[in-house]
């Protein structure tokens, strides 16, 4: 019998499809910290991040078929789920009320400090460096969109820039990031 800790992520998802709680626990052990970490970063609230984490893993339990191993890693899938749910939460009316536009800009400019929050310092270092290499205007739109949960339309409004410019900067910045990360040997979310 194969040791559960040696099973691939895809095998674990197949086992989850057979209602293996052990397999779900192993997936949680491998990826729970990343799912929670991203949700907390976006929401800036531990309790809400726990809710998002719980929702992501319960969704994997109830609908494991939504993971497509041909499109990417399980880590990538779970992080996308975590981010989407965190963004949904933060875009809700109550969350939006709590955020003043000027505060958001201030946060995006000043509080991004990944190195103190991540465990995987090697990856964090590469991502931080890739972000730092971006021109300021590209870095800001990506941070506002990804870590603050704003749509590109809202980012344009916050920064008082044309929507087309924001779209273009997000795209250019992401391409630049991809190139730098690829050169640094970072491939998606391999674990």
């Amino acid at each position: 019998m194969q040791d559960i800790s040696e099973a691939s992520d895809a095998q674990l998802v197949t086992s989850i499809g057979r209602y293996s709680e052990v397999a779900l626990a192993e997936v949680y052990r491998r990826h729970g910290g990343a799912v929670y970490g991203l949700a907390r970063r976006v929401l800036n609230n531990s309790a809400e991040a726990e809710d998002v984490t719980q929702e992501v893993f319960l969704r994997l339990w109830n609908q494991p078929d939504r993971f497509d191993p041909l499109r990417g890693t399980l880590r990538s899938f779970l992080l996308a789920q975590s981010h989407a749910r965190a963004v949904d939460a933060i875009r809700s009316l109550n969350a939006r009320r709590a955020r003043e536009m000027k505060d958001a800009v201030k946060v995006a400019r000043g509080s991004y400090d990944m190195q103190h929050e991540v465990w995987d310092l090697s990856l964090a270092d590469k991502v931080t460096r890739a972000l730092e290499e971006l021109p300021e205007e590209e870095r800001r739109v990506i941070q506002l969109a990804y870590f603050e949960g704003y749509t590109y339309v809202k980012v344009a409004e916050i920064l008082n820039q044309p929507e087309g410019t924001v779209k273009s900067r997000i795209r250019t910045g992401m391409r630049r990031m991809r190139s730098v990360l690829n050169e640094a040997g970072v491939q998606g979310a391999e674990t």
Partner: protein, 255 residues
């Protein structure tokens, strides 16, 4: 949304920085555009790296999750994946079966078969009865994937013949273990029946997954031992852990 409009928003989509309407329109385009799909996957890699900051998990969170895992489990079938069309048929089969009977007797019955089934990682199938728009997207996606598979060096074609020696289905298997249904002339079954695909490994039939009552798209991945023969049986809609009927079609892998 045309190609240019969708392409301009792929990076924003990867950051969840589009509204719901735009998301749906972009995803509809991506499902039919291999170029945009590839570009989006690249942006998603970057988004994953951005979000890949592991933090200590709060104590008690796992206990909370594990205490809720059966709350919403009403035994209903999993819904098809919207964008990719990938549905692990082992998952679907087991979950449908579980809706009718308890887990423990099932697992006992499965025995060694369940252990051997680990060779199957994922299988997709089409569900023609609903989700028409999804199916159209999936079909476009599937056609592209199958075409790409047929162009991949080292692929193997397996023709499945009926008992009357007529070709009724063809599969393509890639060197990395991924396999796809290329074509099928299997007649449609009633809704309470399904075709089930089996691989013969060391003389033992191993379930690869369910193909549905009217197969049009099947995707699977096999790791470990490669089956020497592919076969298809007709089973109850939930599938069977071992074949309950004779093979209606089978084919041998050429070495």
């Amino acid at each position: 949304m045309n190609h240019l409009e969708a392409n301009e928003l792929l990076a924003a989509l990867s950051l969840d920085a589009v509204d719901e309407r735009e998301r749906e329109e972009i995803e509809a385009h991506v499902s039919e555009c291999p170029k945009c799909r590839s570009e989006l996957d690249g942006y998603m890699d970057v988004a994953t790296a951005l979000g890949n900051s592991v933090e200590p998990i709060p104590e008690g969170l796992w206990n909370s999750i594990s205490s809720h895992i059966y709350d919403a489990d009403d035994g209903s079938e999993p819904s098809p994946s919207i964008v990719t069309g990938i549905v692990p048929i082992e998952v679907a089969a087991f979950r449908r079966r579980r809706a009718r009977i308890s887990t423990k007797p099932l697992l006992a019955t499965m025995g060694t078969v369940a252990a051997a089934i680990i060779v199957v990682l994922a299988v997709s199938l089409s569900d023609a009865s609903s989700h028409v728009s999804n199916l159209q997207r999936q079909l476009a996606s599937s056609n592209y994937i199958v075409t790409a598979a047929l162009s991949t060096p080292g692929h193997t074609l397996v023709d499945l013949e009926s008992s009357s020696k007529q070709d009724v289905a063809q599969f393509v298997l890639l060197p990395d273990g991924r396999g796809y249904l290329v074509s099928s002339e299997l007649p449609a079954l009633s809704s309470d029946r399904t075709y089930q695909l089996w691989g013969l490994i060391n003389g033992t039939p191993i379930s690869i997954g369910l193909m549905g009552a009217n197969p049009s798209k099947v995707t699977f991945t096999v790791s470990g031992a490669k089956p020497s023969v592919l076969g298809v049986t007709v089973e109850p809609s939930g599938g069977s852990p071992t074949p309950t009927n004779a093979m209606v079609a089978s084919g041998t892998f050429a070495d």
